[in-house]
Symmetry: C2
Subunit: 221 residues, 2 copies
DNA sequence: TAACCTATTGAACATGAGTTCAGCCAAGCG
DNA sequence: CGCTTGGCTGAACTCATGTTCAATAGGTTA
């Protein structure tokens, strides 16, 4: 299934594939509100053909979702065999060619729904693995609840970039990779500060909480 | 100007005010894609009247923005005179009556644009003040760059909740206050862990960075 | 009561966008 | 050369939605 009927190289794809790629590009750049006509123009075909191949705009969206998920899965299995511990987002960001997919993943998560949850859960799993690896080699502190910490870290990290992206002026071309990189560079200092030295000077809040959970004040009736 | 022509109490507002409140409710609950007809129904008036009073849907949106911003400003000035150091979001969340406004603020930021930036910058300022107060009383560690740390913390905290909200099944009623509260309760442990003990075991990354900024390896030509 | 003004309605209009469909065209085949 | 087939077009259709407008109701004033 890996090689299509025709040659599978860049500009000489099946029209169906070209439309799908154009849709991923458009959806990623402008969100899922883009018109079928815009996608058709980007692909260099008529609006009718888009529907002819995919049945409806929703089904086109579905096909894009499937394609991106498949790509992410592929990257994931590759990274397992090659012992690459980066999250799939970082791996997407590392390859120039994958740029549209990053945009698409952000839009998908931003739009919510089942695909968002699926992708987001995968990110959390990535982060959990990443933290566990750090823990194993001694660079990351062990947590009393590693799963929850991973969820917390993932929500914070991904959410921060999502907010940053949302604040961009709409209508402009959004360079997701640049934003991710700038975020990382711009805020290394506070991130490293908090992650190595903490934010609070005293243990009182943590200790109080730990005492609280080990001996709850009142079990609700 | 504070008291309108008629009685200003809850259910007996000017039609214009009732429409505006209905719009804030609808926009907050379902996003800015809701139809004028839906807003009209919520307000118990005809679609025509909505346009009659506000000119267009965009102007209605504008009026809602203005009203919410005004409320936030009011809360802010009140909190200054009463020395209340909570962020405006926390203050909104504390009062039952303000529930729709929380939803609206989230939707506004989620939708992006100038109002989003304005509200978000205000949140950052709130966080910065909050951290500075903690620093002054000795509970929060001083930062080498307090402003950046505040931006980083705000992006993380707000982004995390934004992600959580986005993951809710669309179409359902979204209880923003409940989500915020559950997030706080559910993830107290990892948050306190990281904030008091840090995430990393060694200072090497931070120290390397501090050395790097004080003595950059190569100034780009 | 009559005039009048304002708020309000409900039907109609305009537009944008997803979708349909009858037909065209180029390629393969007898 | 003529036939068939399947990808493809572009004009037309449908529907949702923002918006307009003539007509109405209800209260206020002379």
């Amino acid at each position: 299934m890996s090689s299509a009927k025709r040659s599978d190289s860049a500009s000489d794809l099946t029209a169906r594939a070209r439309i799908r790629d154009a849709a991923i590009e458009c959806f990623g750049q402008h969100g899922f509100g883009v018109t079928v006509r815009a996608v058709a123009e980007q692909a260099g075909v008529s609006p009718g053909l888009v529907i002819h191949h995919f049945g409806s705009k929703d089904k086109l969206r579905q096909a894009c979702d499937d394609h991106v998920i498949a790509l992410v899965n592929e990257i994931k299995t590759e990274s397992i065999t090659s012992h690459d511990s980066r999250t799939f987002l970082h791996q997407l960001a590392a390859v120039e060619e994958y740029t549209p997919y990053i945009a698409y993943v952000f839009r998908a998560v931003q739009a919510g729904g089942p695909i968002a949850v699926s992708l987001y859960e995968r990110m959390i799993a990535d982060v959990e693995g990443y933290l566990a690896a750090g823990e194993a080699e001694g660079t990351v502190r062990p947590s009393r609840d590693p799963a929850k910490r991973a969820r917390w870290m993932a929500a914070n990290s991904f959410g921060a970039v999502l907010v940053l992206i949302t604040m961009q002026q709409p209508g402009q071309q959004i360079d997701f990779v640049r934003i991710i990189r700038e975020w990382s560079e711009e805020y290394i200092l506070p991130a490293l500060e908090v992650y190595t030295e903490g934010l609070l000077t005293e243990r009182t809040m943590l200790d109080a909480y730990l005492l609280y959970v080990s001996d709850p004040p009142a079990e609700s009736g």
